[in-house]
Amino acid sequence: MSLKIKDLPEENLFTKGHTACPGCGGAIMAKIAMKVFGKNTCAYFPANCLLVFGGTYPLNAFKVPYLHVLFENSAVCAAGIKRALNKLGKEDVNVVAFAGDGGTADIGIQALSGAAERNEDIIYICYDNEAYMNTGIQRSGSTPFGAWTTTTPVGSKIAGKERFKKDVPRIMIAHDVPYVATASISYPLDLLKKLEKVKNMKGFRYLQIFAPCPTGWRLDPSKTVEIGKLAVESGMWTLYEFENGKMTINKKPKMIPVREYLKPQGRFRHLTDEQIDILQELVKKKWERDLAMAESTH
């Protein structure tokens, strides 16, 4: 039996009163992840929004042991704590590293890659809001093509980010770890299934959760969940899991025009038809590549 929304406990281990922007996708992710993982968890944070809005000393929104580690070493700190807990005989504690996309795709990738290669027994969650939102919306490796950020400004020569989004889940698959999955806050049942799976598995588990950021994406805060659905339906974000060498697509996108996904977001307002065509082509290729990979592993 897979986990249903109604089966989740009432108590929030990530409490209300945190200082996230209204409509924060990262806060939804943290709240749900903590409901699934439960009390027997400790959480590790590199610098990210969640760290700041979830724990401004001495206030703290998490009701579990919580530690701020450096930007580049969340995976390896979590691994060290897990080994220490094992030595103390507390083998059942879930050790979770919550990192943003910047702390995963750019700054934290060497520690992440090292921990994955050693198959450390930890859960690594990357909540992907596609830029360094905490410091005021700078581009990260995970920022998509064409998006405005403060470091990819829109001018007459360059308009938005020129490079494509770094595909971190595929990098993690290349490490051949026990579990890699992508999820989205907008697909509750899929998200709960994956969170429960990572909770009950052993070995290195990587989960990248799509968590829209209304502030950085220049989006109406009430549309956070809606835009997450459009991302999946348009193929901008694919939901799949990679388990024991087999990749499974969890949700086949309807492939609605990518324009529908871009329209509500201010960060894509400047895009020309030509740029949208480039992005549409990229989305198509990404989906075909994901599908081909899923088929080749079965």
Binding site: I5, T15, K16, G17, H18, T19, G23, N60, P65, S222
Partner: protein, 294 residues
């Protein structure tokens, strides 16, 4: 020299307001600086910004502790923090409020101007962002800068940041506020509670831990203590659940970023002490049972 302190919330544009005011004063031949107070503020949290204007070169670089003018962008802030702290006796408070100046109570009796900036912003801009509106009120209330210069300042600063079309709307909002600002004197004598000891001392902490769950004079600290931070005052729109229509699908309960919707034996309940009014619950409700009201 005159010094202006802006009180706002993250996302209301206090910094851009300070910059536009400085720009307007500069256009009129003054020296001017504008700068924000930096902290770990998110959209919606109380923030500060400053502007300093003088006919001569400005050498003072500190934050502004004894302002000549305070501008309050958010109508709920005057109940939460002492916005008039350090305000000069001859100074003036320019507030976003639906009330008349005489109905307002601050720490001291000072000249006060009020304007219903939230309504003007919603009418003219379509969003409750009151920075440009309050600049119009400042021009009217103080007479220190002409409204034409304010409009030019808004066109410069807003135009460069978010485009000319929206800048024009903001200039119009400032002009509207200029025409609707009421000037008078507020009541004094409001007492704000002194801040209590908040941080635990190192002696109270166990070895190797930053904070355990414990209580100081100011309230809880450590794991789970963010419940002390009531975020309900951030809200402009409030979600109301229609019990008749609710099908208890729990989507709002699942998606609420604050976790302030709870399941009770009497259906779902929203804790308005914490709800920031993002509107996700109303947007995602499949039965249309949630309505956002002002």
């Amino acid at each position: 020299m005159y010094e202006v302190r802006f009180h706002g919330r993250g996302g209301q544009g206090a910094v851009m307001a300070a910059q536009s005011l400085a720009d307007a004063a500069f256009i009129e031949g003054n020296y001017a600086v504008a700068f924000p107070y930096f902290g770990a503020e998110r959209r919606g949290a109380p923030v500060l910004a400053f502007a300093r204007v003088d006919a001569n070169k400005i050498y003072r670089k500190t934050q502004i502790y004894k302002p000549d003018y305070v501008i309050v962008l958010d109508d709920k802030l005057i109940d939460l923090i002492n916005v008039a702290e350090g305000l000069s006796k001859d100074g003036m408070a320019i507030l976003n409020s639906t009330k008349k100046p005489e109905e307002i109570q601050l720490e001291n009796e000072v000249r006060t101007a009020t304007v219903d900036a939230t309504t003007i912003a919603l009418d003219v801009l379509g969003v409750p962002i009151t920075n440009s509106v309050m600049l119009g009120a400042f021009a009217k209330a103080t007479g220190l800068v002409k409204i034409e210069s304010i409009e030019k300042g808004i066109m410069d600063i807003f135009g460069a940041r978010i485009g000319e079309r929206i800048a024009k709307k903001n200039a119009k909002a400032a002009r509207t506020a200029y025409e609707r600002t009421a000037i008078g004197t507020c009541k004094g004598g409001r007492i704000f509670k002194k801040e209590k000891k908040w941080l635990p001392t190192y002696k109270e902490l166990p070895l190797g831990l930053a904070t355990r769950a414990m209580k100081t004079d100011a309230g809880l600290v450590g794991p789970g203590s963010f419940v002390e931070n009531k975020t309900g005052s951030w809200r402009t729109f409030k979600p109301i659940i229609d019990k008749e229509k609710c099908i208890e699908c729990l989507f709002c309960w699942f998606y609420c970023p604050e976790g302030c919707i709870s399941r009770t034996s009497n259906g779902l309940k929203i804790d308005y002490d914490y709800c920031k009014g993002c509107g996700i619950c109303a947007n995602e409700c499949p039965a249309n049972a949630i309505e956002m009201v002002r």
